[in-house]
Symmetry: C2
Subunit: 202 residues, 2 copies
C-alpha cells in the first residue's frame, strides 16, 4: 500500500499530537493541527478561538441539539447553514487541498472521513488509559488531578458528538481506522515508529 497522507484522531491527553510530531520529523513531511486553525483564521473570516473550539467540538450548551440537528437537516427542514456548518465546509475544503498539495499528517477535524475516497491515506486512532491522560493533562494545564477526568470525558464526548454529526460514524469504531493504538501501553515513541514504518511500506 503506497501511503501519502496520515490522519490522526486522538483522545484528549493521549499524546496523539506528539505521535504525529515524531512521525512528521521521521518522515520529513509536514504536520497540520493548530496550523489548520491559523490558516483558516486568515482565509475564512472566523476568529481563531471560534475555529479552535467549533472546528472540532460540539457546543457545550447544546450538544444534544447538535447531535440531532443532522437528522432535521437531512430531511430538508433546515435550509440555513449554521456558522458551525459553514466552518466545517471551509475546513473540509481546506483539508482536501492540503492532501492534494503533498504528503502530510493531519490531526483531528474528521480528516479520516473527509479524505475517505482516497486510498493513499493511513487512518490512525490514538487512545490511552485515564490515569495516563490525567497525569499528562494535569501537567500541561496545571489543573488539580482530581478535576481532570471529568473534564477529559466532557472533551471526548464533545468530539464524539461533533464526529457523529458530520460523518454519521462512531468516533471510536476501529473499522474507521487502519490502526488504533493505546499510547499508555505501546508508548508514544514506539507508536510513532509504527506509523513511520507502515507509511514507508514495511
Amino acid at each position: 500500500m503506497a501511503y501519502r497522507i496520515i490522519t490522526i484522531s486522538r483522545e484528549y491527553g493521549s499524546g496523539g499530537r506528539t505521535v504525529g510530531e515524531l512521525a512528521s520529523k521521521q518522515l520529513g513531511i509536514p504536520l497540520y493541527d493548530k496550523e489548520v486553525v491559523d490558516a483558516m483564521a486568515e482565509s475564512c473570516g472566523f476568529s481563531h478561538d471560534f475555529i479552535e473550539e467549533v472546528g472540532e467540538y460540539a457546543s457545550v450548551t447544546n450538544s444534544f441539539l447538535f447531535s440531532i440537528a443532522v437528522s432535521s437537516r437531512l430531511e430538508g427542514s433546515v435550509n440555513l447553514m449554521s456558522a458551525a456548518d459553514q466552518l466545517y465546509a471551509y475546513q473540509a475544503n481546506y483539508i482536501r487541498e492540503l492532501a492534494e498539495k503533498g504528503p502530510c499528517i493531519i490531526v483531528g477535524r474528521c480528516a479520516d472521513y473527509i479524505l475517505r475516497d482516497r486510498d493513499d491515506v493511513l487512518n490512525v486512532f490514538v487512545h490511552a488509559d485515564m490515569d495516563f491522560r490525567t497525569k499528562h493533562m494535569a501537567e500541561v494545564y496545571k489543573k488539580p488531578e482530581h478535576a481532570v477526568p471529568k473534564w477529559l470525558k466532557e472533551r471526548d464526548n464533545r468530539r464524539k458528538v461533533y464526529y457523529k454529526h458530520y460523518t454519521g460514524r462512531t468516533w471510536s469504531d476501529p473499522h474507521n481506522y487502519d490502526l488504533c493504538l493505546c499510547t499508555s501501553r505501546i508508548g508514544i515513541e514506539h507508536a510513532a515508529k509504527m506509523l513511520t514504518e507502515i507509511y514507508q511500506g514495511g
Copy 2:
C-alpha cells in the same frame, strides 16, 4: 512494558489467526487456538464440536435470549449453570493456566477479558474490510462469494453476543485492546511484525 502473553481477538476471515501464527514463529512461543479446543475436549468431557461452536459463539437459534440471560443471572433468578456457562468456566480456567505456564499467544475465547488482571498481556483486535474477508473465506470454504458476506456477518454477530454475554464489554471497542489493526490495509505479514516488535520492546 514487559509482555509475556499476546491475545488476539479477530473478525472471521481477517487473517487474525495467521497473524498469530507468524508472530508465534518469530517469537518462538506457542500459539493456542484450536489447541484450546483439543485440550478441553480431553479434559472436560464436552465433545470437540460442542466446544468449537459453543466456546466462542452465541447460539444461532437463541442469540437474543443468550444476550439477555446474563441480566437474569445477575439478578439471581437463574441458579443452574447452562452447558455453555460451564464450558466458559472450564475454558477461562484453562486459559489462566496457559498464561501461568509460560509465554504464549491465545486466539479468541475472551482471553483479553479473562486475563485482564495481568499487566503482561498485549491485547490485539484484528479486522479487515468485507471484500478481503469474503475473498479469503470463499477460497478457504469453497463457498460462492455472493453467499459469504451474510455468513460472515452472522459469525461476527454471534461472537459479539458471546463476548458481551461473558464480559459485559463491546467486542470491537478499541479501549479493550492495546492495538487494533486492519489486515486488508496493513498486510498480514506487517501486522505480525508489529506484534513481534512490541512484544520484544521496540
